[in-house]
Amino acid sequence: MKTCLVVDDSKVIRKVARHILETLDFEVAEAGDGRDALTHCEATPPDVVLLDWNMPVMSGMEFLKALSATDLPKRPKVVFCTTENGIGHIKAAIEAGADEYVMKPFDRDTIASKLQIVGLA
């Protein structure tokens, strides 16, 4: 079973994402900020990270930079997931190492298609 780490400081978003991902046959773990997410990735690297932009403690961008600096044998795919759709915002996320980008709110088809694009469906 493929694994996904949902990183978002909103419990509601995590719950919605978990529900969608479980219907797509993913095993789901959750983290409330970038630091928790990094700890999780170092201990049990998931196949993909669904990553929020604005979070306390460590933001999505900071997490991406920290993830790139780790020596994980296989870097998880990262789908950036935000409420911002400015082109500068999107380009910054891709340049920082995100594999895909999705804007909230999202639905099951959108998440499924993004997972397929990063080779996980």
Binding site: I90, K91, I94, Y101, V102, F106, D109, S113, K114, Q116
Partner: protein, 277 residues
């Protein structure tokens, strides 16, 4: 709330009369949902009153607007990725060899809805520009819905629409951000011509590849057979037809049969017979 079945049947009949499309019993529930905003805008209280207003014909646009609202325009970019792989690596590679001398490929996207499928096709060519350099690529995209064609032609998509199926790299490459929406770039739009057309009507031209996905499932068996005949008349003898993931020609028509070399695509039966002889 109980919905009057007579009104539902009347509205379903109107849709079938105008477009050939049916609303199956399991989808009748959506009639009131999709007509809700139209009824609210026009101050119509319920479906019975809507049917009466259409019958009174004081407003000639009402029936057209109802039909437009009842059409299912669900679509997204690269819907069913395997199908697009089959187009890219199967049909187009075969046509590239078959049309090596004319260097001309003509594609019909029948039932293109709001254009995402047609633009996805165009991206296959635009992303491999060097490979198709010197080729004339023409994609005709049609739909029975005037509103859907207008949107497709305009090439504007909301963030929600554009991120459904489209890789972010393609979004940045082929679309410009305009406010909160995204507009297709001219370099991509140049491959396409959008036109209102019902697949049950005769089509002009001969096409090398026809995509008619998730369209014929809304027709009765008789209308579906008619549509297959129309598609066959518009397909080149060595051309390919692609249907939706859950659709087939088996038991529906004698005009097409499965392509022996490219599973998932269909060829004209007559052409296969000639090849076998």
């Amino acid at each position: 709330m109980t919905i009057d079945k007579t009104a539902l049947r009347h509205l379903a009949g109107l849709l079938e009369q105008r477009t050939g499309q049916q609303i199956g019993p399991n989808r009748l529930w959506r009639v009131e949902t999709v007509l809700k905003s139209l009824m609210r805008e026009r101050g119509i209280a319920n479906l019975d009153a809507l049917v009466a207003a259409i019958g009174a014909a004081h407003d000639m646009t009402l029936a057209t607007d109802v039909v437009e609202a009842l059409l299912n325009n669900e679509t997204f970019f690269f819907r069913d990725a395997q199908a697009f792989e089959l187009v890219r690596n199967g049909a187009l590679e075969a046509l590239r060899q078959a049309r090596a001398s004319s260097r001309r490929i003509s594609i019909w996207c029948a039932g293109c809805s709001t254009g995402q499928e047609a633009y996805s096709l165009a991206m296959i060519f635009a992303d491999a520009r060097a490979k198709w350099d010197g080729w004339s690529i023409d994609i005709t995209a049609t739909d029975v819905s005037e509103a859907a064609i207008a949107k497709a032609r305009g090439g504007y998509y909301s963030q929600f629409e554009i991120q459904r199926g489209l890789p972010v790299s393609s979004m940045l490459k082929w679309f410009d951000q305009v406010g909160h929406d995204w507009r297709v770039k001219r370099d991509l739009a140049r491959y396409l011509r959008f036109r209102r057309h019902n697949v049950l009507m005769a089509q002009t031209g001969s096409f090398d590849l026809i995509l008619c996905r998730n369209v014929l499932l809304y027709f009765s068996p008789e209308r579906r057979r008619e549509a297959f005949d129309r598609l066959a008349a518009s397909l080149a003898p060595d051309g390919y037809l692609m249907l939706g993931a859950g659709e087939t020609v088996i038991g529906q028509t004698e005009a097409f049969a499965s392509s022996p070399e490219l599973r998932g695509l269909y060829r004209k039966t007559a052409a296969l017979r000639v090849k076998a002889a």
